[in-house]
Symmetry: C2
Subunit: 408 residues, 2 copies
Amino acid sequence: MAIIVQKYGGTSVGTIERIKHVADRVIKTQQAGHQVVVVVSAMSGETNRLLALASEIATQNNPREVDVLVSTGEQVTIALLAMAIQARGFKARSYTGGQVRIITDDAHSKARIKQIDDEKIQQDLQADTIVIVAGFQGTDEVGNITTLGRGGSDTTAVALAAALKADECQIYTDVDGVYTTDPRIEPQAKKLDKITFEEMLEMASLGSKVLQIRAVEFAGKYNVPLRVLSSFETAQTAGSGTLISLEDDDVEAPLVSGIAFSRDEAQIKVTNIPDKPGAAFVILALVSDANIEVDMIVQNASHQGIANLTFTVPRGDYQRVVDILHQAKDILGDSEIIGDDTIVKVSLVGVGMRSHAGVATKMFQILANENINIKLISTSEIKISTVIDEKYLELAVRALHKGFGLAQ
Amino acid sequence: MAIIVQKYGGTSVGTIERIKHVADRVIKTQQAGHQVVVVVSAMSGETNRLLALASEIATQNNPREVDVLVSTGEQVTIALLAMAIQARGFKARSYTGGQVRIITDDAHSKARIKQIDDEKIQQDLQADTIVIVAGFQGTDEVGNITTLGRGGSDTTAVALAAALKADECQIYTDVDGVYTTDPRIEPQAKKLDKITFEEMLEMASLGSKVLQIRAVEFAGKYNVPLRVLSSFETAQTAGSGTLISLEDDDVEAPLVSGIAFSRDEAQIKVTNIPDKPGAAFVILALVSDANIEVDMIVQNASHQGIANLTFTVPRGDYQRVVDILHQAKDILGDSEIIGDDTIVKVSLVGVGMRSHAGVATKMFQILANENINIKLISTSEIKISTVIDEKYLELAVRALHKGFGLAQ
């Protein structure tokens, strides 16, 4: 008998009909011989409804009280799902984060789970009871309600799976798995049967928003097999989604697993910086002091002792960065600041790159064949990212998808 | 410095505007030099909205899960009120029933408070923080969420006031106090400045629905002065409501404090019962076995060893009682069952009756003068109840109100 943790997001529990559908699926899993723990989000729209009430009071509210407010969303769902399972004649029991003793730090609205007491859950599972836990929430050590931040229900599910030593953590969502790239851009995109935690992290952080990054990190750290599945497929069409797990040494890893991209990018180039130690630091410190996240950073020394520094920031922060740098003329001296907020990032991701040379060369060749100019390059062990003009995004994704044979 | 507990019902916190209005009132109380604890209900309509969701799942749901569901209503209000107070620059902190350790028994949906841990509240009050507590809810000893039943927020307020040894428990509602009778029937009805717990209990149980009976009982038991006030009056027009407290020996109590009435009544008369011990018991046992509450009971032995038994039940149970008695013909033998569901109960209430004879006589005289026939009479130390035809209700209330000089 296996312990399975299933997580259903807001859309999957968005109406009473859908909650009943989830109840059916959960019961089916139990009847297949498993012990089931279910983690649910607030019904879609509910968190926004609650936040809208708060915003009628003030634009900025006390984070402790915001957590008290929004945590009611999941509490409603756990009760309704428990009722739906009970109405079908099966045993179920709901728990808020606080009741099941999900202890977090006290960082309201972005708390991190420190500890889970699984005693009550284990007792319920022994008694054939389906356990339903509110996602996204916990309490700090003195009993204040905390939330893990948006999407934190994924993290709750993975943390519970780790604490219970579950055999699998299944994340039900509105897509049926992780794809080689976004099917809206490349209709030939193929669902991946499996992918490693590392690849999934790169895919997620690069803009394929299937899973919370933190949840994937957590799953990787505790080696909890994660499976992404669609909650909307009927029993007839249900596939097995995508399994995210540790690298499997037995199988030859594919060279490239997928192509991720992000439109939320802007590029800043600072030229004519005196090429001496600390110059790049001063510039980047100005940006990070304003709480702006810098992504790719490339510095190249040019001739005559001066350097150019290029970096990317989220597109929403672009104008602020330009303003900050212009106001720092006394520091930057003769430097020229050249910005571009019409760029995108396209990346190849794959653990196979570790053991194969020439992937980058092939990537640049494919893009060159399409006359796409690469503005920036950044590489890591399992990914290669390029910055290109946004008008070439679709062309680049399709060319790379075809060039690396991902549709086969 | 006094500790004041204030309770605001669902209508008083029914919109964000009203919650802000409550925040102003609470702050004003603190600025008058008091330590303030606020108990709030769910925003009006919210509990019904949640119950409607549950009823889409099943007509009868597990009471434990219903409590998990509906307790979110008050949790939303405490967070919003805390935010509203904080937005005005004052310190506030919200607590769910479970967080403030309101421990109840495990009778879901009608739990009774067993214990309150006031340590956190006292600490907050010492730090000039306004404490906001979710009414209507608690947890049982193993941490399951419980609710006290509809209107239970009054009970929460009184229980907190008792635990904190508060100087006054103020119940803000949509009326500005307790009246000598219902002003919709007698426009001359006068607000009472004070009334005793016992009188309030009789007024409430007889149909003047200002306060929860259980809350008044609790207040009486722990001698917590209760004050009913309107939350809709502006600062200019605000009166001091009605104070409900122990009998004051210094002041000559008025003969009659008020006139209560109830339309929710039906009368059953069983005639020709053999006048022997146990006959009445058998009949009433049939009714109470069906979980129907019997209110007034009058038995009179008539001539020739047979008796008549007359009793009243809630009007909604009338037909069931008639059916039950007809099906028990073998027990009742030749008895005749005569029902009447067009009757009402009108009662005089007043602690002054204890020390004054002749109140009943005067009451009967006033009704006789109006040609109103009295069908049943029942008396206690501080009340006299009569059953009359429902068509005479308004006439009787007005005649008694005038006859006992209540408008002066």
